[in-house]
Amino acid sequence: MAKKKEQVVKNADTGSGGSRAINKFRISDAVMMLIIILLCATCILPFIHVAVKSVSGNSYVLAKQIYFLPKGINFDAYASIFRDGSLVYAMVYSVVVTLIFTVLGMLACTCAAYPLSKKRLKGKTGITFLLMLPMYFTAGIIPTFVLFYDLKLYDTMWVLIWPLIYSPYNMLIMKTFFQSNVPDSLEESAFLDGASNIQILCKIVLPLSKPILATLSLFYAVGRWNAYADNMYYIKTDRLKMAQYKLFQMVSSASESQSVTLSEAAAVTSTPEVLQAAFIMFVTLPIICIYPFLQKYFVKGAMVGAVKG
């Protein structure tokens, strides 16, 4: 009897497979796949080209023979970047800033999202308004600049950290997750057992929210790593500027003269183009390396955010 049932199930399976076979591969499928492949190529090929250029021989680059295969492979450009040291320093500095920023950011985000996820919280509407308004309306660059100057934050590492650690957008995502994914009954029973609000947060809510914590940490980290407009506004000292800003400086100086600014001590032997390619790779690689592993978390977070954006 049981066997017969299995047989039926199997038949149903092949049945659906059969209907898929009837729904055969059409030209439109091929066209759509082709469009997607072409779009993907625009996302990958430029980076392959830059990577290949960064390890190619100068003469081949000057002869415009480098497309997607390296010729005369050497790592001189990378060597001169390491000899110069300023970019390596900027990378280490950026990592430190990003780490501090992410930790503080998650703390601020949790401190806001957890209380606001409680329906019973008195004064919730008013507090939510206060915490969300900065997302829609800011005083603008100059008043903020004057404020940071008065706060003695101008031209310090902390100006890259404190002002942005509380993010209304991330708070909203976290709050939505708490409300929809942590069962109220669990918290209530812990409450009846005499657990305090903070105990409930640390022992129940946070362990249940690991996916969103991972996602938002990444939002914070990538956001900090990539942003550099505040470097333009608030930082004067060269050693306090982040790696992305260094790359930006190089691009904007090179866009007209095509020269790369590395100190004399670096004893540059590569052509500006090769050096620039190596520079780009150096700053891009960290993101590209971790990206495939983290991508699924990002998508999850973006979806939670989309539900109540």
């Binding site: 591969f25 499928d29 759509m32 469009i35 997607i36 492949i37 779009l39 993907c40 625009t42 990958i44 430029p46 415009k64 497309y67 601020a108 401190c111 209380p115 409680k118 008195k122 004064g123 507090i127 829609y136 309306f137 800011t138 005083a139 603008g140 660059i141 100059i142 008043p143 903020t144 004057v146 404020l147 706060l151 650690i165 509380y166 708070m171 305090s196 990539n226 550099y228 407009a229 506004y233 992305q244 930006f248 190089m250 691009v251 904007s252 866009s255 007209e256 095509q258 183009e273 620039q276 390619a277 780009i280 700053v283 891009t284 991508q295 998508v299 973006a302 979806m303 989309a306 539900v307």
Partner: protein
Amino acid sequence: MAKNKKAAVMTQTTWKNALKRDWQLYLLLLFPLAMVAVFNYAAYPGLRMVFMDYNPVKGYSGSPWVGMGTFRKIFQDADFINALKSSIAFNLMDLLVGFPMPIILALILNELRYAGFKKVTQTILYLPHFLSWAIIGSVAYTMFRPTTGLVNMFLMNLGVIQDGIPFLTEKWHWAATYLLIGVWQGMGWGTIIYLAAITGINGELYEAAMIDGANRWKRMWHITLPGIKGTVVTLLIMNLGRVMGSNLERLSVFANTQVRDFQYQLAVYIYNKGLQSGKYSMATAVNLFQSLVGVALVLLSDKIAKMLGEEGLL
């Protein structure tokens, strides 16, 4: 029992009880509240400099009041008018070209057959969203430089063109390149929201349509698109609010003297006049104008969406 009744009758808790029960929650809230108070709200009074001729040496107390003088000045400033025009034109173009792209892409991705292929290509398409404008800009230069850029190099080696196309150094070419790079950067990531909305559509609708003989395009047109209409409207509202905004990182990485006409948009104006030339009051007035119009646009488009029977945003 009595307690329950009391709770049911008393829907409004007193502040005393709320503080007693949730003092820890309020304690937690102090941290983010302090952050917005110190770094956002404390800057709001500084906005009074739009009615002053602000001088950083004299500060807020020493600078003279000029009433609406600053606003009169900016509306007579040719640079501002130019920046405003470029900003609006480019943002509208961004919206026109950039907004439909993720929708089309999401529809295509939704129709793809092989799960593995779909997953890999999605991962690749999201990538540009995670790269900074510095990286995108520098790679764009590597691609589009007149003589040594990959695209021009390729076309010239093929003999299609004699001289390099000035993708980033002639203003009309620049405009097209700038817009397309923006679309390229946002298209993959933008699909996520639409794909999520498509997942929410009832599968039975598709089955019924298939039985009725609706082909792929008809199903797309009559089921998928209406199914994501709400999401489309919401995102359109959010994007309309940005018609006045501009991104300094994106604009400055593609800056060069030949394209200044188009590249000198509001964000560049504010940075240039304010922090570089010291015309603080003018820059702040422009910034304020920009954010007020932005807020007004969001409120307005939200109202319109609600009038049309959509859910809206606020």
